[in-house]
């Protein structure tokens, strides 16, 4: 009897020990990859006098860069929300030839390196490019200008909204739509009263991912924008620029702000995800 309890005790202790080894491993990993770098940014930023930080943040180049990032993000979110939702509804509810192939293409932006994507757009929309030459003849600049940057951002964020909603829609099936149909609702009413409320948290999640990615995008935007100060330089490009210019105060303070934004977005993501699961 006593022996038995001893045995149980030993097994329990071993299990406990195993658990703590795993937890410490995860903690270590987090520290190396996440916490230390964050602390690093904060420390480096505040090594400088507050006046240096504020002046470097309030320089016209910096404010312009932040405003540009916000503008691009806003446009990307609006377009992605509309087209992503339409795309998701088409893929989840419609049947047509080539659907599987098209759907597999949604993942392409994940697979292609952003830099490569950027070059693709330069080739396509550049002055000598296939579509670009036409736009140039109309006096519309795409590459090294805002349109190109928006297109590049749209490309890298394309999957987020659609990918989040498709499984939600599939899971919901069409029974609720049919129930609404029988009760006399038009397609338009079904979308607003039935479909949208059921996907709203998935959509919110997709939108937050889009925001995060748009703010953070570097590679693709770098290639298509040319990173021209006060013109086509976004926040991430600005950080890079200052960093290579050895202007650490500016780079770190801007980086800190981006890190803060990411932190807020992370919390929004988690909230949306929780709500999505609950519904």
């Amino acid at each position: 009897m006593e022996n038995k309890t001893n045995c149980v005790e030993v097994v329990r202790k071993q299990k406990q020990a195993g658990k703590w080894v795993l937890i410490s491993f995860v903690l270590l990993w987090f520290f190396v990859l996440i916490i230390f770098p964050l602390i690093g940014i904060v420390r480096e930023t505040f090594k400088n006098a507050i006046s240096v930080i504020t002046s470097s943040l309030s320089s016209t180049a910096s404010t312009h860069a932040f405003w540009l990032t916000i503008l691009i993000t806003f446009v990307a979110v609006v377009i992605n929300t509309i087209f992503g939702t339409i795309m998701a509804i088409v893929f989840a509810k419609q049947n047509f030839k080539g659907k599987l192939f098209l759907e597999s293409l949604i993942d392409l932006p994940f697979a292609v390196s952003p830099i490569v994507a950027g070059f693709m757009f330069v080739i396509l929309f550049g002055p000598g490019g296939w579509i670009g030459s036409w736009f140039y003849s109309m006096n519309i600049k795409i590459i090294y200008a805002l349109p190109g940057m928006i297109i590049a951002t749209l490309f890298v964020t394309l999957p987020f909204v659609a990918k989040e909603i498709i499984p939600v829609l599939r899971e919901f099936g069409i029974e609720q739509d049919e129930a609404a149909l029988i009760l006399g609702a038009s397609q338009w009413q079904i979308f607003w009263k039935v479909t949208l409320p059921s996907i709203r948290w998935g959509l919110a999640y997709g939108v937050t991912l889009t925001i995060a990615r748009s703010i953070g995008e570097f590679g693709a935007v770098l290639v298509v924008s040319g990173s021209i100060i006060n013109k086509t330089q976004t926040a991430t490009l600005r950080i890079h620029d200052q960093f290579t210019d050895l202007n650490y105060a500016g780079a770190f303070s801007a980086a800190l702000i981006l890190a803060l934004i990411s932190f807020i977005i992370l919390n929004l993501i988690q909230y949306a995800q929780k709500r999505k699961k609950r519904i």
């Binding site: 919901f172 029974e175 609720q176 049919e178 129930a179 609404a180 149909l181 029988i182 009760l183 006399g184 609702a185 038009s186 009413q189 009263k193 039935v194 409320p197 059921s198 519904i279």
Partner: protein
Amino acid sequence: MSGIMVKNITKKFGDFIAVNNVSFDVKEGELAALLGPSGSGKSTLLRIIAGLENPDMGQIFLTGKDVTPLRTQKRNVGFVFQHYALFKHMTVEKNIAFGLEIQKKDKKEIKQKVEELIDLVKLNGYNKHYPSQLSGGQRQRVALARALATEPKVLLLDEPFGSLDAKVRKNLAQWIRDLHNRVNVTSVFVTHDQNEAIEISDKIIVINRGKVEQIGNATDVYEHPKSKFVASFVGNVNVINANIKKNHIVITGTKEKIQFKEKTEINFQNIVLLIRPEDIIVKDNSTEDTVPCIINGIYYRGSFYEVDLKVGTNNVKSLVPKEDFFKFEWRKGTKVYIRFRKFKIFEASEGHKKVHEMLKQLGYIE
């Protein structure tokens, strides 16, 4: 005629014929059961009536009007889905109000109607609950209330009790029967449970592989099945292989003969006798219309005994009332005699009524 009329409806999915030239009608105020095994096309038929599916051929008439070209929204039918299909993000009262809100009814009117319906389906106090907070039976009642809110003339229910446990199911079935008598509506409900169909419907439409096998009330379908399929699908039935030789039936594997009333000169190979367990009478002694057999097993079934018997190469089941059972000392291996109170003859392979009808017309059997 008002009510529902289904006329020569055919529906194909690719090469597969899901509904094959089906016609039937349901009179105003009737509650009809669409009974058939899984995959027989019941749901498809119901969806065609509601306009959720377009037929390849045929017409649907609701309350005397040809609605075949009408869209679902314009047909004003109530539909209760097998898995309820409640709006998950809406409360009970919002779910019920949905149809009325679409019709842009007056707010006060909607509120009153919703209260009435909640009362009718006995969900008082659950107004603000979400579907996920309700039991299966409660969800089913919300679905019903939602379907009735717009006062449809036609109510379609797809396996309304399918996913409920036996007891709830029985109560709800009876309750729907009562409800149906109270509200003025013509209903069709889909089921693959023959007892449900027999218990609550005015009319049973038996379908199999997309085709109507028989239409009739419960007694018709149970007592006078028109095909081997109906006989075996509706209720329990024994299938005994036999041949007809001149003026009697010979059960396969025996030398025993069942005499016809009159002499005949017909021969039939490979027929089957279909006999309900309660129509096999087990006796202690032989008479001229009995067949000897051996008891294979005896099972207590509460109000009666179920007795397994071996007749030639056939196994059959008989239901024996308790008092009969206690008169004799039967046990496994006892030799007894059985008499068939009533049976149907079908061709073994084709399974249609030809043989029986023929013999009946000739007056050899009843």
